[in-house]
Amino acid sequence: MESLAGSCVVCGYCGSGCRLRMVGDAAGPVGISPILTHPTSEGRLCRRGWTSHQPLRDSGRIRSATIKKAGGKAVSVSWEDAIAHASEMLAGSPAGATAIIASPTSSNESLYLLGKLGRTFLSTQSIDFPGGSSTLAIQRLMARWIESTCGIREVDSADVIIAIGLGDGDACPQIVPAVWRAISRKAAVISVDSWKSDLFSEADIAMTPLPHADAVWIDALGSALSSRYEPRIPAEDAVGLAGIEPGQIERAAELLRGAKRIAVVTMTTSMDRLADRRSIDALGRLLSVLRTTGDWLGILPLFERSNTLGAIDMGIGPDLLPGWRDAGDAEARASLSRAWDLPVCEADGVGIPGILEAGGIRSLLVIGDLPGLGLPGSEELLAGLERIPLRIAVSAFPSAWTDSAHIVIPRPLPGETEGTFTNTEGRVQWSRQCQPPPARQEWEIWAALATALGAPWRYATIHDLRSEIARVVPGYEPLAEASIEGTGEFVRTLWEVGELGRRLPADAPLPGENGDAQSLLLCVEQVYLPYHFDSEILRSPIMRRELAILPNEPHVLIHPADAKEAVLRDQGRGVLRTGHGETSVRIACRSDVPRGRIIVPDIYARLVLGPLLPDGASGKSGLYAAVHVAVAPK
């Protein structure tokens, strides 16, 4: 057994972009080796990285393409036949009738070519990827403050770190040693989170503001730092409005005033931190104050999947073109048309919610997991998708979605994929293929489909494609160099872009409904991360075992001391009650829940909140609800 030749792989899970080496033999990988000299990971891998060879060993893979014949029976065909069939079915689709759900774990090359295919020969702007909407707010902030982003290792050198929504660090673990190294150097940490996690047990200030109250504490902090900050919110008001502890704003301001090097790190997966326009605007104003304080390091947004930033850069979004150009901007479209020598679709597109819920889509192409599959309500989702006449799945493992699809094409896994990935810092790295994929590389699938649809493009090798990306996507110029295929990498340069003007979720919190003095505050928070439901990670027996610990029924989280006072038992049931109704749920005790609160995991929000809120209030805006409930054992 020996290390697989050329087996330097970019981990396929979070946005840290750790490189690792697959160890194995001709029969496949048998283990993982970290890379000590990798600039981001420095030889550290999380549990997902350490078990990432296991999905490659799973014999339940989709290994051949299938086409569903009349009567619904799926038959195996060659991947070329599957492409030919798909092109026949897709040819002549009217503008806007096709939708594409791309994957943030695909390579830049695949994403770029898929976007190009979609916006030209498939005549659609309805191109999105899971997690795209949760990054909207931070995209907007980055668009404005893009020259001020910093790298993970630069956080080491900060003397004050504002860490927002990092939780226990599991979503992007490589930030953890950077924060702790800074703490070891006596750096101060201001933690803002829904949880009191171990990661910030040594934080100087740990604020747990209510969901959708970020604008309040940020404005209060800005006001405390600068007399020029508008609007001015007194710190004492922030205590009442945002649910933070007295004195925290003043102490945070004091730390920041004395700081020489300040960094802001924020997780982008959180649906509850910085998810509304007011918060983002407030953070933008705060950054403008901080950047004049000492030696400003910048803001580091942490993205949730291995190529979320690459997907944004490659223009995967209903209103985003490659290079962060606005799809609604006629000049940007014309520029892209000239680069591609093809007209770019002008029809309005929709994002994933629109794709899955709105009518009018005639063909749906999904790469990887169908968003929402495996979550409460997925049966309804699948039933709704049955109305789409053509469903194409490019997937590594079978699922209810691939069972429902008319055409299924095998998808390569990390370790089988060749291409570049852009990590959360903008570091573009080459990932090698250590074993061949069951069919083809994703980019080869799109190239073949484009050719079948009549495209004149000819990409003999991935290098041809990279050269085109280097010409079309600003910041990716070094992709044209062959050296990227070694252990080469580059940090893509940033460019100035204008206001993207993208829509953001509504932010109105729901009013309290219950004046009960013994009541607790019910908040919806993102408890489980997208990878908890990832079909690939669940193919690792160890990860499947670890994630099976998650309760798989609607439940709420409560601090053990609050549970004790309310005579609730861990894993027992309790009744939540408001003026509008009541519901019975499972109770899970967790000591990291702030006192006085009950947290509903967002995936169960609709089920739990539905009976407790006024009619119509538990829809999407209800995801951000904060409502008082009375709680009692059942």
């Binding site: 057994m1 020996e2 290390s3 330097c8 080496r21 160890v23 048998v30 283990g31 993982i32 080796s33 970290p34 890379i35 000590l36 000299t37 990798h38 420095e42 030889g43 550290r44 891998l45 999380c46 549990r47 350490w50 078990t51 060879h53 296991q54 060993r57 799973d58 014999s59 339940g60 226990d168 660090g169 599991d170 673990p173 953890v176 040693p177 702790w180 190294r181 070891s184 171990d198 990661l199 047990s201 040594e202 070694g486 252990t487 027996p541 160890i542 075992r545 670890e546 099976a548 610990i549």
Partner: protein, 349 residues
């Protein structure tokens, strides 16, 4: 084994020596990124000197992260076929800590009932170690009786004397390797032996990390470590499992049956981590170590308490330093032992 006088092997004949063994050789090979990994490769590709140890121990050859134990077939009469993955081979350039780990694993897996998959594979491997004149920055084997020079456990131990290796034979298998080398080996001079002793002494002073294992063992065994200290240390563990996966003597594993179609399948063993919540969860759902602090504490009790030292012949650390590189929170073995040592508690006062 009869005692053997030390010999010398000119470096320029090292490739010839390895070729003379006529078996596949795994050794330190450059990854091209400033690191080495142990890989089966032509002897000419092996690095002979100046390398720091690999990220993953070469004990992975007999004990890979994932391995098939046996295959089953239900076509007709059910059949179970053990998977023979053993290979007669040599590991060249293995460092002292990993030789110590190799012998520990043999001892561990030989405890009744003997685990033959590992033992069969290990029994076919010749260990040609290179003693460490220059320890790596994370190494602390000197505190763990794991190196930098070995008194036993190796088949052949080489010491870098500049233009040649001092060649020490540690087993009959090592003697056979020397016999194959024939005229390539010369008797070591008194000066060579003296130089070897001096290098061994000098190496002791070159360690950047010290870990007071004896104090750690004493305090852990007598349970004189405050719960507050465990909680503080465990707070920095993100349960990545890296310490267990890189540790050459960690033996936690998971077993899973994998279906290869409707009638065939395989049983695989995968190295696991006692820091994972699911590792200790029982079938009933009860978990004797339900929280991170109890799991963290348990790991170090297993590594350092005297009970296990007696049972396994040594404590559970060879000082390779890999956990120092792998740990996100800096709660690696030397850091924890030193925190335990420096903790002042009432009972110690």
């Amino acid at each position: 084994m009869a005692p053997h006088d030390p010999l010398t092997l000119p470096k320029e004949r090292c490739v010839e020596f390895l070729s003379s063994l006529e078996i596949p050789i795994a050794g330190p090979v450059s990854t091209g990124a400033g690191e080495v990994e142990y890989r089966i490769a032509p002897p000419g590709e092996m690095i002979l000197d100046g390398y720091v140890n690999s990220a993953i121990s070469p004990v992975r050859f007999p004990y890979p992260q994932t391995q098939i134990l046996w295959r089953y077939s239900q076509n007709g009469e059910p059949r179970f076929t053990p998977e023979d993955q053993s290979l007669r081979m040599a590991i060249f350039g293995i460092r002292s800590c990993d030789v110590t780990a190799f012998r520990y694993l043999e001892h561990f897996f030989d405890r009744p009932p003997a685990e033959t998959t590992f033992l069969d594979a290990a029994s076919k491997i010749l260990l040609v170690s290179i003693a460490c004149n220059e320890p790596g920055e994370n190494c602390f084997c000197v505190c763990c009786d794991g190196g930098p020079f070995l008194e036993g456990g190796f088949d052949v131990q080489l010491t870098d004397l500049g233009d040649r290796f001092l060649f020490e034979i540690g087993s009959d298998r090592g003697a056979e390797a020397a016999r194959r080398a024939g005229g390539m080996l010369k008797a070591a001079s008194e000066a060579d032996r003296t130089r070897r002793e001096r290098l061994a002494e000098e190496a002791l002073d070159k360690f950047g990390i010290t870990s007071h294992m004896a104090t750690g063992i004493r305090k852990l065994t007598s349970r004189r470590v405050a719960e507050e200290l465990w909680a503080r240390l465990a707070a920095r563990c993100i349960e990545c499992g890296g310490c267990a996966f890189v540790c050459p003597i960690c033996t936690c594993f998971d077993v899973a049956d994998m279906c290869d179609g409707e009638s065939n399948g395989r049983r695989e063993r995968t190295r696991d981590c006692c820091q994972y919540a699911g590792y200790s969860r029982e079938a009933s759902g009860f978990n004797p170590r339900p929280d991170k602090v109890s799991r963290f504490k348990r790991r170090f009790y297993h590594k350092l308490s005297f009970f296990y030292l007696q049972q396994d012949g040594r404590h559970g650390c060879v000082g390779c330093g890999r956990c120092v590189s792998a740990c996100f929170g800096g709660v690696d073995m030397p850091a924890v032992v030193n925190a335990i040592r420096s903790e002042r508690i009432e009972a110690d006062a």
